[in-house]
Protein backbone atom coordinates (compact mmCIF):
# COMPACT_ATOMS: atom_id res chain seq x y z
CA UNK A 1 0.00 0.00 0.00
CA UNK A 2 2.94 2.31 0.59
CA UNK A 3 4.13 1.71 -2.90
CA UNK A 4 5.32 4.88 -4.55
CA UNK A 5 6.57 5.21 -8.07
CA UNK A 6 9.20 7.47 -9.56
CA UNK A 7 7.60 9.97 -11.92
CA UNK A 8 8.82 13.01 -13.78
CA UNK A 9 7.06 16.35 -13.48
CA UNK A 10 6.00 17.44 -16.97
CA UNK A 11 3.83 20.47 -16.20
CA UNK A 12 2.79 22.34 -13.12
CA UNK A 13 0.38 25.05 -12.15
CA UNK A 14 0.21 25.92 -8.47
CA UNK A 15 0.00 22.75 -6.45
CA UNK A 16 -1.28 20.67 -9.37
CA UNK A 17 1.13 18.91 -11.70
CA UNK A 18 1.05 16.52 -14.58
CA UNK A 19 3.56 13.72 -14.21
CA UNK A 20 4.57 10.89 -16.46
CA UNK A 21 4.17 7.61 -14.66
CA UNK A 22 5.23 4.51 -16.57
CA UNK A 23 4.21 6.05 -19.89
CA UNK A 24 0.89 7.39 -18.56
CA UNK A 25 0.24 11.03 -17.75
CA UNK A 26 -1.55 11.72 -14.53
CA UNK A 27 -2.51 14.73 -12.47
CA UNK A 28 -1.05 14.75 -8.99
CA UNK A 29 -0.74 17.20 -6.10
CA UNK A 30 2.51 18.92 -5.15
CA UNK A 31 1.04 20.11 -1.84
CA UNK A 32 3.65 18.19 0.16
CA UNK A 33 6.74 19.69 -1.50
CA UNK A 34 8.11 23.21 -1.95
CA UNK A 35 9.44 24.56 -5.24
CA UNK A 36 9.31 21.52 -7.48
CA UNK A 37 10.31 22.36 -11.04
CA UNK A 38 9.33 20.80 -14.31
CA UNK A 39 11.74 17.99 -15.19
CA UNK A 40 12.35 16.93 -11.59
CA UNK A 41 11.73 13.38 -10.42
CA UNK A 42 9.36 12.74 -7.54
CA UNK A 43 7.87 9.71 -5.81
CA UNK A 44 4.12 9.54 -6.27
CA UNK A 45 1.81 7.84 -3.78
CA UNK A 46 -2.00 8.08 -3.64
CA UNK A 47 -2.06 11.08 -5.96
CA UNK A 48 0.57 13.10 -4.10
CA UNK A 49 4.27 13.66 -4.72
CA UNK A 50 5.57 12.57 -1.31
CA UNK A 51 9.25 13.35 -1.84
CA UNK A 52 11.80 14.27 -4.47
CA UNK A 53 14.00 11.62 -6.05
CA UNK A 54 17.58 12.85 -6.06
CA UNK A 55 19.34 11.81 -9.26
CA UNK A 56 22.68 12.55 -7.63
CA UNK A 57 22.00 10.27 -4.66
CA UNK A 58 20.67 7.56 -7.00
CA UNK A 59 23.93 7.67 -8.96
CA UNK A 60 25.97 7.46 -5.76
CA UNK A 61 24.08 4.38 -4.58
CA UNK A 62 24.44 2.80 -8.00
CA UNK A 63 28.18 3.38 -8.09
CA UNK A 64 28.53 1.88 -4.62
CA UNK A 65 26.56 -1.15 -5.83
CA UNK A 66 28.79 -1.41 -8.89
CA UNK A 67 31.88 -1.37 -6.66
CA UNK A 68 30.49 -4.25 -4.63
CA UNK A 69 29.63 -6.16 -7.80
CA UNK A 70 33.18 -5.65 -9.11
CA UNK A 71 34.72 -6.75 -5.83
CA UNK A 72 32.89 -10.06 -5.97
Amino acid sequence: MCLGVPARVMERSGDAAIVELGGVRREISLMLLDDVSVGEWVIVHAGFAIERLSEEEAEQTLSLLREIADAF
Binding site: M1, C2, L3, G4, M31, L32, I50, S54, I68, A69
Partner: protein
Amino acid sequence: MNCSIRYIDEFRDPATARALIGRIRQDAGDHPARLMEVCGTHTVAIARSGIRPLLSGAVTMVSGPGCPVCVTPDGYIDAAIALGREKGALLASFGDMLRVPGKTSSLEREKGKGLDLRVVYSPLDAVALAAETRSREVVFLGVGFETTAPAIAGAIRTAAQQRVANFSVLSSVRTIPEAMGVLAADPEVRIEGFLCPAHVSAIIGADAYLPVAEAHRIPCVVAGFEPLDILMGISMLVRQIREGAARVENEYTRVATRGGNRKAQELVADVFVPCDTGWRGIGVIRASGLRISERYAAFDAEGKFGVPVVYTPERTACRCGDVLKGKILPGDCPLFGKACVPDEPYGPCMVSSEGTCAAHYRYGAS
Protein backbone atom coordinates in the same frame (compact mmCIF):
# COMPACT_ATOMS: atom_id res chain seq x y z
CA MET B 1 15.80 7.82 -23.56
CA ASN B 2 12.91 6.09 -21.89
CA CYS B 3 12.38 8.08 -18.74
CA SER B 4 9.58 6.00 -17.38
CA ILE B 5 11.78 3.15 -16.26
CA ARG B 6 14.67 5.14 -14.82
CA TYR B 7 15.64 4.37 -11.24
CA ILE B 8 13.85 1.05 -11.39
CA ASP B 9 15.72 -1.15 -13.86
CA GLU B 10 19.14 -0.11 -12.57
CA PHE B 11 18.13 -1.45 -9.16
CA ARG B 12 17.23 -4.87 -10.56
CA ASP B 13 20.54 -5.92 -12.11
CA PRO B 14 20.98 -9.70 -11.63
CA ALA B 15 24.80 -9.71 -11.59
CA THR B 16 24.90 -7.12 -8.80
CA ALA B 17 22.24 -9.07 -6.94
CA ARG B 18 24.43 -12.20 -7.06
CA ALA B 19 27.39 -10.23 -5.74
CA LEU B 20 25.31 -8.86 -2.86
CA ILE B 21 24.07 -12.33 -1.99
CA GLY B 22 27.67 -13.53 -1.92
CA ARG B 23 28.61 -10.65 0.35
CA ILE B 24 25.69 -11.33 2.70
CA ARG B 25 26.56 -15.04 2.90
CA GLN B 26 30.19 -14.27 3.61
CA ASP B 27 29.36 -11.74 6.34
CA ALA B 28 26.71 -13.92 7.96
CA GLY B 29 29.17 -16.83 8.26
CA ASP B 30 27.63 -19.57 10.30
CA HIS B 31 25.36 -17.23 12.24
CA PRO B 32 22.10 -16.93 10.31
CA ALA B 33 20.60 -13.47 10.93
CA ARG B 34 16.93 -13.14 11.81
CA LEU B 35 15.62 -9.93 10.28
CA MET B 36 12.19 -8.39 9.96
CA GLU B 37 10.95 -6.53 6.93
CA VAL B 38 8.45 -4.21 8.55
CA CYS B 39 6.62 -3.13 5.43
CA GLY B 40 4.14 -5.05 3.27
CA THR B 41 5.58 -3.61 0.07
CA HIS B 42 8.93 -5.15 1.06
CA THR B 43 7.14 -8.44 1.80
CA VAL B 44 5.73 -8.56 -1.71
CA ALA B 45 9.01 -7.51 -3.33
CA ILE B 46 10.92 -10.17 -1.37
CA ALA B 47 8.40 -12.88 -2.25
CA ARG B 48 8.24 -11.88 -5.91
CA SER B 49 11.97 -11.67 -6.44
CA GLY B 50 12.62 -14.97 -4.67
CA ILE B 51 15.15 -13.43 -2.27
CA ARG B 52 14.11 -15.61 0.68
CA PRO B 53 15.30 -18.97 -0.71
CA LEU B 54 18.46 -17.38 -2.14
CA LEU B 55 19.47 -16.33 1.35
CA SER B 56 18.47 -19.50 3.15
CA GLY B 57 20.96 -20.50 5.80
CA ALA B 58 22.38 -16.96 5.95
CA VAL B 59 19.34 -14.79 6.63
CA THR B 60 15.82 -15.53 7.79
CA MET B 61 13.37 -12.82 6.83
CA VAL B 62 10.21 -12.56 8.86
CA SER B 63 7.38 -10.28 7.83
CA GLY B 64 6.20 -7.53 10.09
CA PRO B 65 2.95 -5.66 10.62
CA GLY B 66 3.40 -3.29 7.68
CA CYS B 67 0.33 -4.01 5.59
CA PRO B 68 -2.15 -1.32 6.64
CA VAL B 69 -5.10 -3.29 5.35
CA CYS B 70 -4.09 -6.42 7.27
CA VAL B 71 -3.82 -4.66 10.63
CA THR B 72 -7.07 -2.71 10.31
CA PRO B 73 -9.37 -4.25 12.93
CA ASP B 74 -12.73 -5.72 12.00
CA GLY B 75 -14.48 -3.03 14.07
CA TYR B 76 -13.32 -0.49 11.49
CA ILE B 77 -14.98 -2.39 8.65
CA ASP B 78 -18.14 -2.69 10.76
CA ALA B 79 -18.15 1.09 11.35
CA ALA B 80 -17.62 1.76 7.61
CA ILE B 81 -20.53 -0.53 6.72
CA ALA B 82 -22.71 1.19 9.33
CA LEU B 83 -21.89 4.61 7.85
CA GLY B 84 -23.04 3.44 4.45
CA ARG B 85 -25.98 1.34 5.58
CA GLU B 86 -27.42 3.27 8.50
CA LYS B 87 -26.31 6.82 7.77
CA GLY B 88 -26.70 6.63 4.00
CA ALA B 89 -23.18 7.91 3.33
CA LEU B 90 -21.45 7.42 0.02
CA LEU B 91 -18.19 5.62 0.85
CA ALA B 92 -14.93 6.25 -0.99
CA SER B 93 -12.09 3.79 -0.44
CA PHE B 94 -8.78 2.48 -1.70
CA GLY B 95 -9.47 -0.73 -3.60
CA ASP B 96 -7.58 -3.09 -1.31
CA MET B 97 -9.95 -2.48 1.61
CA LEU B 98 -12.90 -4.12 -0.09
CA ARG B 99 -12.32 -7.74 0.82
CA VAL B 100 -11.13 -7.21 4.38
CA PRO B 101 -13.44 -9.20 6.64
CA GLY B 102 -15.45 -7.33 9.28
CA LYS B 103 -17.25 -9.20 12.04
CA THR B 104 -20.05 -10.37 9.80
CA SER B 105 -19.41 -8.99 6.31
CA SER B 106 -16.99 -7.14 4.06
CA LEU B 107 -17.35 -3.95 2.03
CA GLU B 108 -17.28 -6.03 -1.15
CA ARG B 109 -20.12 -8.25 -0.01
CA GLU B 110 -22.16 -5.24 1.07
CA LYS B 111 -21.45 -3.50 -2.23
CA GLY B 112 -22.90 -6.54 -3.97
CA LYS B 113 -26.01 -5.96 -1.88
CA GLY B 114 -26.33 -2.30 -2.83
CA LEU B 115 -23.91 -0.43 -0.53
CA ASP B 116 -22.83 2.73 -2.35
CA LEU B 117 -19.02 2.63 -2.49
CA ARG B 118 -16.57 4.13 -4.95
CA VAL B 119 -12.97 3.04 -5.31
CA VAL B 120 -10.64 6.03 -5.56
CA TYR B 121 -6.94 6.38 -6.34
CA SER B 122 -6.33 9.48 -4.24
CA PRO B 123 -8.05 10.92 -1.15
CA LEU B 124 -8.40 14.12 -3.22
CA ASP B 125 -10.66 12.18 -5.61
CA ALA B 126 -13.00 11.66 -2.67
CA VAL B 127 -13.04 15.42 -1.96
CA ALA B 128 -13.85 16.05 -5.63
CA LEU B 129 -16.62 13.44 -5.45
CA ALA B 130 -18.09 15.24 -2.42
CA ALA B 131 -17.85 18.62 -4.17
CA GLU B 132 -19.80 17.20 -7.13
CA THR B 133 -22.37 15.44 -4.96
CA ARG B 134 -23.36 18.10 -2.43
CA SER B 135 -26.62 16.35 -1.61
CA ARG B 136 -24.78 13.30 -0.21
CA GLU B 137 -22.40 12.79 2.67
CA VAL B 138 -19.14 11.35 1.33
CA VAL B 139 -16.95 9.42 3.77
CA PHE B 140 -13.40 8.54 2.79
CA LEU B 141 -12.03 5.40 4.41
CA GLY B 142 -8.69 6.82 5.50
CA VAL B 143 -6.49 3.81 6.10
CA GLY B 144 -2.72 3.83 5.92
CA PHE B 145 0.64 4.49 7.50
CA GLU B 146 2.81 7.60 7.52
CA THR B 147 3.18 7.39 3.72
CA THR B 148 -0.55 7.88 3.23
CA ALA B 149 -1.21 10.12 6.26
CA PRO B 150 -0.09 13.34 4.49
CA ALA B 151 -2.34 12.56 1.51
CA ILE B 152 -5.32 12.06 3.84
CA ALA B 153 -4.39 15.20 5.78
CA GLY B 154 -4.05 17.08 2.49
CA ALA B 155 -7.54 16.00 1.47
CA ILE B 156 -8.99 17.15 4.81
CA ARG B 157 -7.27 20.52 4.59
CA THR B 158 -8.42 20.91 0.97
CA ALA B 159 -12.01 20.12 1.97
CA ALA B 160 -11.76 22.70 4.79
CA GLN B 161 -10.35 25.38 2.48
CA GLN B 162 -12.93 24.71 -0.23
CA ARG B 163 -15.72 24.36 2.36
CA VAL B 164 -16.74 20.93 1.19
CA ALA B 165 -18.83 20.31 4.31
CA ASN B 166 -20.27 17.00 3.13
CA PHE B 167 -16.82 15.37 3.18
CA SER B 168 -15.41 13.46 6.15
CA VAL B 169 -12.86 10.76 6.91
CA LEU B 170 -13.12 7.56 8.94
CA SER B 171 -9.52 7.55 10.11
CA SER B 172 -7.47 4.47 10.76
CA VAL B 173 -4.00 5.89 10.29
CA ARG B 174 -1.13 4.18 12.06
CA THR B 175 2.49 4.93 12.80
CA ILE B 176 5.23 2.36 12.37
CA PRO B 177 8.04 3.11 14.90
CA GLU B 178 5.66 2.52 17.85
CA ALA B 179 4.76 -0.94 16.49
CA MET B 180 8.44 -1.71 15.92
CA GLY B 181 9.16 -0.87 19.55
CA VAL B 182 6.53 -3.38 20.71
CA LEU B 183 7.89 -6.10 18.43
CA ALA B 184 11.49 -5.44 19.40
CA ALA B 185 10.52 -5.85 23.07
CA ASP B 186 8.59 -9.11 22.47
CA PRO B 187 10.80 -12.05 23.50
CA GLU B 188 8.90 -14.40 21.19
CA VAL B 189 9.69 -12.33 18.11
CA ARG B 190 13.48 -12.45 18.57
CA ILE B 191 14.64 -10.37 15.65
CA GLU B 192 18.13 -8.96 15.26
CA GLY B 193 17.50 -6.19 12.77
CA PHE B 194 14.80 -4.14 11.09
CA LEU B 195 14.61 -3.52 7.37
CA CYS B 196 12.71 -0.24 7.59
CA PRO B 197 10.08 0.85 5.06
CA ALA B 198 11.10 3.01 2.12
CA HIS B 199 8.24 5.44 1.81
CA VAL B 200 7.17 5.66 5.43
CA SER B 201 10.79 6.76 5.95
CA ALA B 202 10.57 9.29 3.11
CA ILE B 203 7.99 11.07 5.25
CA ILE B 204 9.23 10.54 8.82
CA GLY B 205 12.97 10.41 8.04
CA ALA B 206 15.54 7.79 8.99
CA ASP B 207 16.20 9.48 12.35
CA ALA B 208 12.70 8.48 13.44
CA TYR B 209 14.09 4.98 14.15
CA LEU B 210 16.80 6.23 16.53
CA PRO B 211 14.69 5.67 19.66
CA VAL B 212 13.92 2.05 18.63
CA ALA B 213 17.53 1.33 17.69
CA GLU B 214 18.83 2.80 20.94
CA ALA B 215 16.23 1.48 23.37
CA HIS B 216 16.35 -2.08 22.01
CA ARG B 217 19.95 -2.18 20.77
CA ILE B 218 18.75 -3.26 17.35
CA PRO B 219 20.13 -2.21 13.95
CA CYS B 220 17.71 -0.43 11.62
CA VAL B 221 18.32 0.11 7.89
CA VAL B 222 16.01 2.08 5.63
CA ALA B 223 15.91 0.42 2.20
CA GLY B 224 14.15 1.03 -1.11
CA PHE B 225 11.74 -1.43 -2.67
CA GLU B 226 13.77 -2.71 -5.63
CA PRO B 227 15.66 -6.01 -5.30
CA LEU B 228 19.12 -4.40 -5.09
CA ASP B 229 17.85 -1.95 -2.47
CA ILE B 230 16.56 -4.83 -0.39
CA LEU B 231 19.72 -6.90 -0.74
CA MET B 232 21.91 -3.92 0.06
CA GLY B 233 19.75 -3.14 3.09
CA ILE B 234 20.06 -6.73 4.29
CA SER B 235 23.80 -6.64 3.72
CA MET B 236 24.10 -3.46 5.81
CA LEU B 237 22.09 -5.10 8.61
CA VAL B 238 24.20 -8.26 8.56
CA ARG B 239 27.38 -6.16 8.78
CA GLN B 240 26.00 -4.27 11.77
CA ILE B 241 25.09 -7.53 13.49
CA ARG B 242 28.58 -8.86 12.87
CA GLU B 243 30.05 -5.70 14.41
CA GLY B 244 27.63 -5.79 17.33
CA ALA B 245 26.34 -2.35 16.27
CA ALA B 246 22.83 -0.92 16.58
CA ARG B 247 22.83 2.06 14.26
CA VAL B 248 20.25 3.60 12.00
CA GLU B 249 21.51 3.52 8.42
CA ASN B 250 19.93 4.57 5.17
CA GLU B 251 20.29 2.77 1.86
CA TYR B 252 17.47 4.72 0.19
CA THR B 253 19.20 8.10 0.20
CA ARG B 254 17.81 8.95 -3.22
CA VAL B 255 14.42 9.53 -1.59
CA ALA B 256 14.56 9.30 2.21
CA THR B 257 16.55 11.84 4.20
CA ARG B 258 17.45 11.83 7.89
CA GLY B 259 14.81 14.39 8.78
CA GLY B 260 12.13 13.32 6.31
CA ASN B 261 9.62 15.54 4.56
CA ARG B 262 9.06 18.43 7.00
CA LYS B 263 6.22 19.96 5.04
CA ALA B 264 4.32 16.66 5.09
CA GLN B 265 5.10 16.25 8.81
CA GLU B 266 3.70 19.73 9.56
CA LEU B 267 0.53 19.01 7.63
CA VAL B 268 0.04 15.71 9.48
CA ALA B 269 0.68 17.41 12.84
CA ASP B 270 -1.93 20.06 11.99
CA VAL B 271 -4.67 17.63 10.98
CA PHE B 272 -4.01 14.67 13.27
CA VAL B 273 -3.11 13.97 16.88
CA PRO B 274 -1.55 10.73 18.16
CA CYS B 275 -3.84 8.25 19.91
CA ASP B 276 -3.71 4.69 21.21
CA THR B 277 -5.04 2.30 18.61
CA GLY B 278 -5.83 -1.37 18.13
CA TRP B 279 -3.97 -3.41 15.50
CA ARG B 280 -5.63 -6.53 14.21
CA GLY B 281 -3.86 -9.54 15.62
CA ILE B 282 -1.49 -7.48 17.75
CA GLY B 283 -3.63 -5.50 20.18
CA VAL B 284 -3.65 -1.90 21.32
CA ILE B 285 -0.34 -0.08 20.91
CA ARG B 286 0.20 3.19 22.75
CA ALA B 287 0.30 6.33 20.60
CA SER B 288 0.47 4.29 17.40
CA GLY B 289 -2.57 5.84 15.75
CA LEU B 290 -3.56 9.22 14.40
CA ARG B 291 -6.98 10.68 15.00
CA ILE B 292 -8.35 13.86 13.50
CA SER B 293 -7.58 16.94 15.61
CA GLU B 294 -10.22 19.18 17.25
CA ARG B 295 -9.52 21.82 14.65
CA TYR B 296 -10.79 19.55 11.89
CA ALA B 297 -13.45 17.78 13.98
CA ALA B 298 -16.09 18.65 11.37
CA PHE B 299 -14.32 16.23 9.02
CA ASP B 300 -14.11 13.36 11.48
CA ALA B 301 -16.74 10.79 10.45
CA GLU B 302 -16.69 9.04 13.84
CA GLY B 303 -17.78 12.18 15.67
CA LYS B 304 -19.91 13.61 12.88
CA PHE B 305 -22.14 10.55 12.63
CA GLY B 306 -21.66 9.10 16.11
CA VAL B 307 -20.33 5.85 14.68
CA PRO B 308 -17.24 4.96 16.72
CA VAL B 309 -14.71 2.35 15.65
CA VAL B 310 -14.77 -0.22 18.43
CA TYR B 311 -11.71 -2.39 18.84
CA THR B 312 -12.14 -5.88 20.22
CA PRO B 313 -9.45 -8.53 20.08
CA GLU B 314 -10.33 -11.12 17.44
CA ARG B 315 -11.34 -14.65 18.31
CA THR B 316 -10.70 -16.73 15.25
CA ALA B 317 -8.63 -19.63 14.04
CA CYS B 318 -6.67 -17.22 11.84
CA ARG B 319 -3.08 -16.88 12.99
CA CYS B 320 -2.49 -13.50 11.37
CA GLY B 321 -1.45 -12.07 14.71
CA ASP B 322 1.45 -14.50 14.91
CA VAL B 323 2.25 -13.96 11.22
CA LEU B 324 2.22 -10.18 11.66
CA LYS B 325 4.58 -10.45 14.60
CA GLY B 326 6.88 -12.73 12.67
CA LYS B 327 6.31 -15.59 15.14
CA ILE B 328 5.25 -18.05 12.44
CA LEU B 329 5.44 -18.17 8.67
CA PRO B 330 2.12 -18.35 6.79
CA GLY B 331 2.75 -21.99 5.85
CA ASP B 332 2.68 -22.82 9.57
CA CYS B 333 -0.98 -21.77 9.80
CA PRO B 334 -3.20 -24.86 9.44
CA LEU B 335 -5.65 -22.93 7.25
CA PHE B 336 -3.03 -21.67 4.78
CA GLY B 337 -3.84 -22.75 1.24
CA LYS B 338 -6.76 -24.84 2.48
CA ALA B 339 -9.59 -22.97 4.16
CA CYS B 340 -7.77 -19.72 3.43
CA VAL B 341 -6.82 -18.75 -0.14
CA PRO B 342 -6.75 -15.34 -1.89
CA ASP B 343 -10.10 -15.93 -3.61
CA GLU B 344 -11.70 -16.82 -0.32
CA PRO B 345 -9.64 -15.28 2.43
CA TYR B 346 -10.33 -16.44 5.94
CA GLY B 347 -7.97 -13.97 7.53
CA PRO B 348 -6.89 -10.45 6.57
CA CYS B 349 -3.27 -11.39 5.76
CA MET B 350 -4.69 -13.26 2.78
CA VAL B 351 -6.87 -10.36 1.63
CA SER B 352 -4.58 -7.63 0.48
CA SER B 353 -2.04 -8.43 -2.22
CA GLU B 354 0.48 -7.09 0.31
CA GLY B 355 -0.64 -9.43 3.02
CA THR B 356 2.10 -11.82 4.06
CA CYS B 357 -0.09 -14.89 3.56
CA ALA B 358 -1.21 -13.73 0.10
CA ALA B 359 2.37 -12.96 -0.94
CA HIS B 360 3.55 -16.39 0.25
CA TYR B 361 0.62 -18.11 -1.46
CA ARG B 362 1.09 -16.32 -4.76
CA TYR B 363 4.84 -16.72 -4.99
CA GLY B 364 5.08 -20.08 -3.28
CA ALA B 365 7.37 -18.77 -0.58
CA SER B 366 5.99 -20.91 2.24
